[in-house]
Structure formats: C-alpha cells, structure tokens
C-alpha cells in the first residue's frame, strides 16, 4: 500500500498554506520530568548514592517513552496529510540546528584529544617544564600515555587497542553499511521498494555487527588491558570519543529500524521522504566521525 503525502493539500482558496497546529499534549512535560530524573539520578550516581541508578533509569525510560509517542504522533499526522510545505521546511531547519549541536559536541571531544596529545603531554614532558621538575621529575611524555605522571594514584593501561584488528574490521563494517544505505537511497529515488527495504535491512545488520565488535573491544580493553576511563588521559579520551560515537550509532540504528518499518508500511515517495533522507544523512555523519576516530584515536 502506497501512502501519498500531499504537501499541497493544505492550501486555501487564496493559495495560502495551512500550518497545522496540534492539540495540547503532555509530551513536553513528560520529557522534562524524565530529563530531571536523569539529571538527579546521574548526580546521585556520581556521589555514590543508592537512588542514583533507579532515578536515572526511570528518567531514561520516561524520556524514551515520550520520544516514541511524540514521534509516532508526528508520523500519524504526516500520513494523515496534515503537513504543509512549510512544515517540511520546519523539520529540515530543526535538523540543521540539531546537527550543529552534534558537530560542536564531537568537536569538543576531538579538541580535548588534540590538546592532550599535541600540547599537554609533550609540554609536561619537556625539559623546560617546571611543573614536571617539581611534581613529577620521572615523567616521560609518550602517546599512548602508559605511565601517568602519578602512576600510583592513576594506574596506566597495560595495553591499548591496536588499529590493525577490530578497528579495521569496524571501519569496513561501517563503510559497507553506508554503501548499503546509499544503495537504498538510490532505490527510493527510483521507486524500487524491494531494493530499498533490502538495502535498509543490510544497513542495519552491518551496523549491529559494528556495535557487537565495539562491545567485544570494550570488554577486552576494560577487563584485560586495564584501559579504562580512569587509567589516565589516554583512556579518558579513548572512551569518551568511542563511547559517545557508539551511543550515536545506537541512536542511528534505532532511527534506521523505524524508517525500515515505515518503508515496509509503504510510507515515502521518491519526491517526499524527509524522514529517510535525514536518517540516511545521520548514518553517513556517524560513519564520518568513525573515520576521524580511526585516524586520530586508533592510529595516531
């Protein structure tokens, strides 16, 4: 069944578009309560409070429930033909702002990695460092930093993840996944529904394979190599960058699965498919970040 969304449907006799304003809902307040509980829970967690995990988990559940319900309502409104061309533009601009914040977010963590790798560690290890002279005279600068300035307080990693191995496989997995989503994208443009669905399925399968390898890599790093968030600056930057990347891959996979369900349900036309476009672009974005990780975290 093909559901056509007619964007020009909401036009009055004077040619003006009707901009759909929905009924009042409690999604926003639900999201706020969820976020509040998450924040409260996280703070408790960090201060070793017993309520921390429960609050955080409850808050996350509420937030996820809100997002699921709200987005479902948006899809239903869209399929009912309530959205005008201006609404489509609103969604695209909303995406731009979201992506801008995402770019800034990763920029911060790459910036921290760059600063530590190129400035802090070499500077501390240099002969002219008075800090080193007074506090840590035995400090040797290297990257990865295996021996921290205070190695008794912060035990460095025994080993780090080699670039040639799981990370190389992961790069291949994500690249293939992006090839599949591009193949699916062309299929949607050419109105080939079956190719679109197969392409999306393969995209998702390869993405799940990537996440599985990452889980395995994390277990290896955390339990066998002594590489953790608190094993020094190398471990910190490694897990912050790869961790948040994996979270974004997870988010991208959820989006892809929803889009797949929508494609199977007959949503989207070759001319009208913002949901697909946005998700496909986001998947490319996640892949590009991985390329940067591959080069700057695993190789350099």
């Amino acid at each position: 069944m093909e559901n056509q969304t007619k964007l020009v449907k909401n036009q009055s006799k004077t040619g003006q578009q009707k901009y759909y304003v929905p009924e009042k809902t409690y999604w926003p307040i639900l999201g706020s309560v969820g976020l509040f509980l998450m924040g409260l829970g996280a703070a408790h967690l960090l201060h070793a409070g017993s309520f921390g995990p429960i609050l955080f988990f409850t808050g996350s559940l509420l937030l996820v429930a809100m997002m699921f319900s709200w987005f479902r309502q948006v899809i239903q409104e869209n399929q009912a033909g309530l959205y005008s061309a201006q609404m489509d533009r609103s969604f695209r601009w909303g995406m731009i702002w979201f992506i801008f914040s995402e770019v800034m977010f990763f920029g911060v963590f790459f910036g921290a990695l760059f600063y530590a790798h190129e400035y802090s560690v070499p500077q501390l290890g240099s002969a002219s460092s008075i800090t080193r002279e007074i506090l840590w005279p035995n400090f040797q600068a290297q990257w990865p930093l295996y021996i921290n300035p205070d190695p008794e307080q912060y035990i460095g990693p025994k080993k780090v993840i080699a670039a040639w191995g799981i990370p190389t496989i992961n790069t291949l997995l994500l690249l293939s996944s992006a090839v599949m989503v591009t193949w699916a994208h062309w299929a949607l443009k050419a109105n080939k529904r079956e190719q679109l669905i197969v392409g999306l399925m393969l995209t998702i399968i390869l993405g799940i394979a990537f996440l599985s390898c990452q889980v395995y890599e994390y277990i290896l790093a955390h339990f066998h190599y002594g590489l953790t968030l608190s094993s020094g600056i190398y471990g910190t930057t490694f897990f912050m960058l790869t961790g948040f990347h994996a979270a974004h891959v997870t988010l991208g996979l959820i989006m892809l699965i929803i889009i797949l369900i929508r494609c199977v349900s007959g949503h989207f036309t070759p001319e009208n498919h913002f949901g697909f476009e946005a998700t496909a672009w986001y998947w490319h974005f996640v892949d590009v970040i991985w390329l940067f990780l591959f080069v700057f975290v695993y190789w350099l």
Binding site: A85, M95, W281, V288, L291, F294, V295
Partner: protein, 67 residues
C-alpha cells in the same frame, strides 16, 4: 609528511561532501538528486581513504601507535 597531507585532504573532501549533502537536503527538499549524489561521493571518497590507509600501512609508510 606527504601521506599525512593526503589523508587530511581526503578527510576535508569527505566532510565537504557530507556538508553539501546536508545543504542540498535543506535546499532541494527531496526534489532533486543532489543530496544522494553528494552522499554517494562521500562514501566513495571514504572507501578510497580506507584503501589508501591500508596500502600505506602495507608499504610501511605509516605505522599505528604502539600497543
């Protein structure tokens, strides 16, 4: 040094294509092929970069940091 410049150049091209894909997503509103073309270029360049990295590694031009 040259290899580093080539890698950075590829990364810049890749980000440029990703960016132009986003731009066309905003501007063309699904009515043209420019978004999917930009994203196709993005993945092609990424695959080329990966092959370049593997060749450079195989030839010993670049070595990953020690483990």
């Amino acid at each position: 040094m040259l290899i580093k410049i080539i890698i950075i150049f590829f990364l810049i091209l890749i980000v440029y294509n990703l960016g132009s894909g986003l731009y066309y997503l905003l501007k063309d509103e699904g009515r043209s092929n420019r978004t999917v073309k930009a994203l196709t270029w993005r993945i092609v360049l990424s695959l080329l970069l990966f092959v370049l990295l593997m060749i450079a590694f195989a030839m010993g031009i670049i070595t990953p940091h020690p483990v």
